[in-house]
Symmetry: C2
Subunit: 323 residues, 2 copies
């Protein structure tokens, strides 16, 4: 099984240039923002989102070359993603992300608000200057979905009556929308036909959903160290994801523990046992596999290239985090 | 001298509809955001920014009627302004604004981040759907300027070496850009020629600068009650505005007090005396009057109407807050 570094190898140099651009763009002239930018855009992250935009852009170019506008689109994608993470960490009160201090815990919440706003503002400015109204609409939809998803997530905390649909909509808003709409936007900049744009969108959407479900499974199966945050932290915070929602169907006793917000000694451990002892994890895995397969199938029409191979291998890579 | 309510009377019904729209748009389906929206968009505020967009829009229409797109532009203007206030209050740690609790002190900083992001996101989405790339560029420039101004303001705190130019640039970014670019955008939606668009921009820019200088003077001359925040709070926080910068030219002793961040007993009072005993306040007044006159002159070409009269009286109204 390929690693993410292997999959992104065709665009590795592009990604390095992009991160270097972002560091200088955000930090320029402001020591605190500079420190936040170093913290946010240092090496180490997977950069899957701009990586996907870059792979698609190169896969669509007859000569495999990247246009300045496609490069900018990848940057905008990463700016929006990062801005949203920085603010969400403030809203959720998260102190670490992937084992690294969040901006508001490393600096303070004022710097986090400022850095996030600055990133959103830069993204919005560069977006307008791509000079393509369709692309502006796609990415502004993403910004709206991200805010909407964060609101929904807060709204349904500890709500055992929420539908599976609610969970999928939240996952679309918070994770899949950015990948789907930026994939489509890359196609718009390449002048593709509507049916191909739809396929790019579908690839991003299903991949994003697979990614989110896998993340949600790992919250139950991973160790603190693997996750870079405390295990089962979603459940403990009242965010009910695929495993919890499936388990609720099998184990009605789980609802009581969640509804009293794990307020009694041992509640959380008991809830975890109920989830792990049910079919919830295997069922979630099947769900993720379905999304991953649909993602792969959506892009088989791409002309043969190194980038196409990487894109088609991505859904399998997303699933491989489970093994 | 006319009151602001009298000046905005031609668009009073429009403004009420706009606030009602914004309350339902932001709060829909989320109890906490609903409360924040009620707090932000309740009656009482001056709503000068959307008021100006509405006055210009009606002044430019042959029949004085308002198009749906002009109405939407006014809403977007108010959303961006409010989002920026809510986040700036977090960044600046301000607990009241015009005598009312800020969102983060009334609720908490998480709600403030979320409400601001939601407003920015809605603004960006509605902006894209105005379907005019030039308008998208103008307003995304505003969003960028607002973030940039907030960064600059933090950067130059207690910096007695900053130029007057730096202060004016910061004031442009934080106050004038929104009024200038939204005035121009109203003209774009009305299909005006470039020279008229420039005039609308200039009106908004000079009015915004006049407004900011007046605000900065009032920080030195107003009482706590008039200001709705502690008097001289800008100076105390190290934000050096026109009066402080003029006073520094006349009273070199002021620099030492500022540079040690008023750390010794009586420093702030002594600094205030130095400013008030200098020509700084009269000179700041002359500066504001110059901007106000330029704003008025920029719009004399408008065809006669109730809205034109209100627009031409606005600069004088801004100055009247000083008397």
């Amino acid at each position: 099984m390929a690693t993410v570094a292997e999959l992104l190898q065709p665009v590795e140099a592009d990604l390095e240039a992009l991160l270097s651009d972002l560091r200088s763009l955000i930090g320029a002239g402001h020591p605190i923002l500079q420190a936040a930018a170093e913290h946010l855009f240092s090496a180490g992250g997977k950069r899957l989102r701009p990586g996907i935009v870059l792979l698609i852009s190169r896969a669509l170019a007859p000569d495999g070359e990247l246009s300045a506008r496609h490069r900018r689109l990848a940057e905008i994608t990463e700016m929006i993603h990062t801005a949203s993470l920085v603010h969400d960490d403030v809203v959720d009160g998260a102190s670490t992300r992937r084992g690294v201090d969040t901006v508001h815990s490393r600096f303070n919440h004022r710097v986090a608000v400022l850095a996030g706003d600055f990133l959103f503002a830069q993204a919005s400015w560069h977006l307008a200057n791509l000079d393509d109204l369709e692309v502006v609409k796609l990415l502004s939809r993403v910004i709206m979905d991200l805010a909407d998803g964060e609101v929904r997530q807060g709204l349904f905390r500890y709500d055992t009556g929420q539908s599976f649909e609610t969970y999928l909509e939240k996952s679309y808003c918070k994770t899949a929308s950015l990948i789907a709409n930026s994939a489509r936007a890359a196609g718009v900049l390449s002048g593709l036909a509507e049916s191909q744009l739809d396929a790019l969108y579908r690839f991003g959407r299903q991949l994003g959903l697979a990614f989110q479900v896998v993340d949600d499974i790992l919250d139950f199966t991973g160790s603190d160290q693997q996750l870079g945050k405390p295990a089962a932290s979603d459940l403990a915070s009242g965010y009910l994801t695929a495993p919890a929602l499936y388990a609720l169907q099998e184990r009605p006793a789980l609802a009581g523990l969640i509804e009293r917000e794990f307020s009694q000694e041992g509640d959380l451990e008991q809830a975890l046992e109920l989830v792990r002892g049910s079919e919830a994890i295997p069922r979630s895995r099947v769900l993720a596999e379905g999304f991953a397969n649909e993602a792969r199938e959506a892009l088989t029409w791409l002309p043969a290239s190194e980038c196409r191979s990487a894109l088609l291998a991505l859904p399998e890579f997303v699933l491989s985090r489970l093994y």
